[in-house]
């Protein structure tokens, strides 16, 4: 460990663990108090270690100091103490004796329970992601603001409202009963998938940050797999899917940070190790009878890791999109299915299918039609690309579309 990265490293590794354990002791209503205690502990570490040198075991130091701060708070702040007693239903003598348990097992359990509490359908998805980044991943407000292309004030407000809402709903930091796990975990997975997508598709230019978001989503999903009662086939499918996508992380942007489309990627940049891991979890997902949307998406992602472009590959992908759309419609799946149709049955057929989709307000729809018409009818292609340019919002999208229009002009000449 480079000493010059010590605090950021420890912050990323330990903030979430201590916050989860303290949050569990204090209850969801006081989650911010837990966050503050841990932040203060790190600040104290920065000053004390600067003054006195590094302790032998910095992590143990952080645990001891945070634990003492929490105990002092419960002991000396009687109003806070009373609130915690009332809300968590401790008896007040219990609370005085409470052991703040920072063992590996309890850290793991507290984080999982916290995951269920935060990924709660009662608060907006965006707020769930924000709170997850803060509490489950230990991201600073500033980093979250960059990830969402927003500012600190907005993020602070959003997190504040989310915490208030969790408090209002009286959400408990605990494992859902066995019978409810399958239902509750769906919402957790949705949030983790959105978190992953936030990193994978985010418009922010900070590549390191985007990569971190993806890794965090994978880490949290992995925590569910490590835990017996949440190690479900569809969780393995989600992790498999994330591994396959993440394997192209380096290939899908060029050194200038611009997006490289799938067909144009340098396949040597695909990460073999992640593909192998993806295959491993896909196999583990193949137990039981249920085929979830994550299974189908993972299988689609698997076929995308196959380098050759033959008809068999696209036939498999098409069938998987058919199944996926039958389980759950989404515009993006519909568009991707159309692309697969073009690979299997040709552009004419795909155009025919595309025109039934009724996605006129979606810029990706017009980009797809622009691509399909490209050689078939350059005039129509241009019309669609112009429409797409008009509808697209991000600079990265506009750049890609403009590139296509320029290419079309060259072809015409």
């Amino acid at each position: 460990m480079q000493e010059k990265e010590l605090i950021p490293h420890l912050y990323r590794a330990e903030f979430r663990k201590i916050t989860a354990v303290l949050g569990k002791v204090f209850g969801i209503a006081h989650i911010e108090v837990a966050e503050d205690i841990v932040s203060d502990t790190f600040l104290l570490a920065a000053e004390t270690w600067g003054l006195k040198g590094l302790p032998n075991n910095p992590t143990a130091w952080l645990y001891t100091v945070a634990k003492n701060k929490a105990k002092d708070m419960l002991k000396h702040d009687s109003i806070f103490n009373q609130k915690v007693v009332n809300e968590i239903k401790y008896s007040s003598s219990e609370l005085h004796e409470i052991e703040i348990d920072l063992s590996g097992k309890n850290i793991q359990d507290s984080q999982l329970q916290m995951m269920f509490a935060i990924c709660h359908p009662g608060i907006p998805a965006e707020a769930q992601i924000g709170l997850s980044l803060r509490i489950l991943c230990g991201f600073g407000i500033e980093e979250i603001a960059v990830a969402f292309l927003s500012n600190k004030e907005t993020i602070n407000k959003r997190l504040f409202r989310a915490r208030e809402k969790l408090k209002e709903l009286n959400v408990k930091i605990e494992f859902p009963p066995e019978a409810e796990i399958n239902k509750r975990i769906q919402n957790v997975l949705t949030t983790l998938y959105l978190l992953f997508n936030e990193g994978y598709y985010s418009a922010t230019r900070d590549k390191v940050l985007r990569h971190d978001l993806c890794l965090e989503a994978m880490r949290l999903t992995y925590m569910l797999i490590e835990n017996e009662s949440t190690n479900k086939p569809f969780v393995n499918a989600l992790l498999s899917l994330m591994c396959f996508h993440a394997s192209r992380f380096d290939a899908r942007t060029n050194p200038k940070g611009e997006l490289v489309l799938y067909d144009e990627q340098d396949t040597r940049l695909w990460d073999r190790q992640l593909i192998t891991r993806g295959e491993y979890y896909l196999n583990k997902a193949a137990t039981g009878n249920e085929i979830s949307k994550y299974h189908l998406e993972a299988a689609i992602a698997y076929w995308h890791t196959i380098k050759n472009n033959d008809e068999e590959k696209w036939e498999k992908i098409l069938q998987l999109y058919n199944k996926l759309l039958i389980i759950e419609y989404s515009p993006i799946a519909a568009l991707n299915r159309t692309y697969a149709v073009s690979k299997v049955y040709g552009k004419e057929k795909a155009i025919e299918e595309a025109e039934k989709l009724n996605l006129n307000n979606n810029h990706l729809y017009h980009t797809l039609l622009g691509d399909l018409y490209f050689t078939v009818d350059p005039h129509k292609a241009l019309e669609h690309l112009n429409q797409s340019l008009k509808l697209s919002r991000s600079a990265a999208d506009k750049k890609i579309i403009t590139g296509k229009i320029r290419k079309l002009d060259l072809e015409k000449k």
């Binding site: 104290l44 004390t48 006195k52 040198g53 302790p55 032998n56 075991n57 910095p58 992590t59 143990a60 130091w61 952080l62 645990y63 001891t64 100091v65």
Partner: protein, 115 residues
């Protein structure tokens, strides 16, 4: 056992004019109190008695002369002791002679280095 710093404050420092006998008496009181703590093996560091010289360094390269002057009390010294808890440390501080002459003692926990 934890360590605590005792910070002694009084309205003025080193300016009390005492007769030699008076000085000796004051000095003995202090020695008795500290000796009592030391005899329990709880004196970590007898610390320092501070003189009347002082400067305060503030942001922006500002240096003012004299001890920190936001308050009328001035720190006269500090001592480090060992105790099980803040409460025990506070009890030990109760016998401090400065309390007999209108001063006060602040008892503060030291951030330990061995986690």
């Amino acid at each position: 056992m934890k360590e605590f710093v005792l910070i002694f404050r009084n309205e003025s420092v080193g300016e009390i004019k005492l007769s030699p006998e008076g000085m000796l008496a004051v000095s003995n009181e202090w020695m008795d109190w500290m000796g009592g703590i030391a005899s329990q093996g709880k004196l970590v560091n007898r610390g320092a008695r501070l003189g009347a010289e002082g400067k305060t360094v503030k942001p922006g390269n500002v240096i003012t002369t004299g001890p920190y002057a936001e308050i009328k009390e001035v720190i006269g010294g500090l001592t480090i002791i060992r105790a099980e808890s803040l409460e025990e440390a506070t009890r030990m501080a109760k016998g401090c002679p400065i309390l007999n002459v209108g001063g006060n003692v602040e008892v503060r926990d030291v951030i330990p280095m061995n986690g």
